[in-house]
Symmetry: C2
């Protein structure tokens, strides 16, 4: 018998869960991730999807980030997502990973904070830049290859998403 | 000399574009997709990210869809994203694809429409279900493996995102 463990799915209603339990689910194990496991997913990955909203209009984009000290750090050119987040700092991030066994996904709800160069974020900025620069084409979702090294003249904004809430789930093939 | 063609990037400001043109971009060609190319991306893919928002709170989720007749058709369990879209039908979808040469991404802005089983969407529903069912584990982002065949008793809601606006871009390695 496969072990089936479901709890706290964001998108599954009580009725959905009841129905799940009545049916054949094959050999997948699905469960929520612990906070520690969520953090590990954030740490291992650099690519995420960011959703923001202004005046009822949602917007989403793929961004690269670095997770450190309870925040996701990222760079972006000025543009639509920055305009949206300045108007409404509430954002949601989705980070997913998949391997031969199955997948994990983490949803982060958090708050946008711009980190201007002038007020002492130089070290964080350089660390984040250095980590992100190791990924070929990490700049692509932003649409512009950045000039290296980072200077105050280049147009990328530096910001972080302060993590306020986090949840995740995992679907793994059952161990034989 | 690499061909560089940039226009109409959603997230690149005029200043960003100007700076782009001043710098070395290596061997990537970046340009906007035509409407025809955007449609081809929607047709080829089944996986997308959906963003919605309620009372200033954004939410995003991975969903599977089928593109037909100017809409993206999908199933979902009742839950948070359905609640959000019922409250505010404006949504944004991001569809991305990547191959050895580079990637393409399309952003769709559209409107959520629920398609209850009772009012004559049976054929669309069955077609969409059949197309989506060919993908192993397509139900995973929804968190619940559906019962086949589709019956009015099973809890999945059927809906579509009517495409209102669409834009896309491509980054390809330059042909040698």
């Amino acid at each position: 018998m496969p072990l089936i463990c479901i709890n706290d799915f964001q998108s599954v209603s009580a009725e959905g869960k009841r129905q799940w339990q009545q049916q054949e689910t094959g050999s997948m194990i699905i469960r929520s991730l612990t906070e520690e496991e969520c953090v590990a997913v954030l740490d291992r990955n650099r690519l995420g999807r960011l959703a923001c909203a202004r005046d009822g209009e949602p917007y989403l984009a793929t961004i690269h980030y670095v997770h450190a000290q309870g925040s996701l750090y990222a760079f972006s050119l000025p543009g639509r997502k920055i305009d949206f987040m300045r108007a409404n700092p509430r954002v949601s991030m989705l980070i997913e990973e998949k391997d031969e066994k199955g997948w994990r996904s983490v949803v982060v709800n958090g708050r946008f904070e711009e980190l201007p160069n002038e007020i002492g974020h130089k070290k964080q900025r350089e660390q984040a830049w250095q980590l992100l620069s190791q990924h070929e084409n990490w700049w692509l979702p932003g649409g512009l290859k950045p000039v290296l090294p980072v200077t105050t003249k280049q147009p990328h904004l530096f910001f972080r998403i302060a993590v306020e809430e986090m949840s995740g789930r995992l679907a793994d093939r059952e161990a034989e």
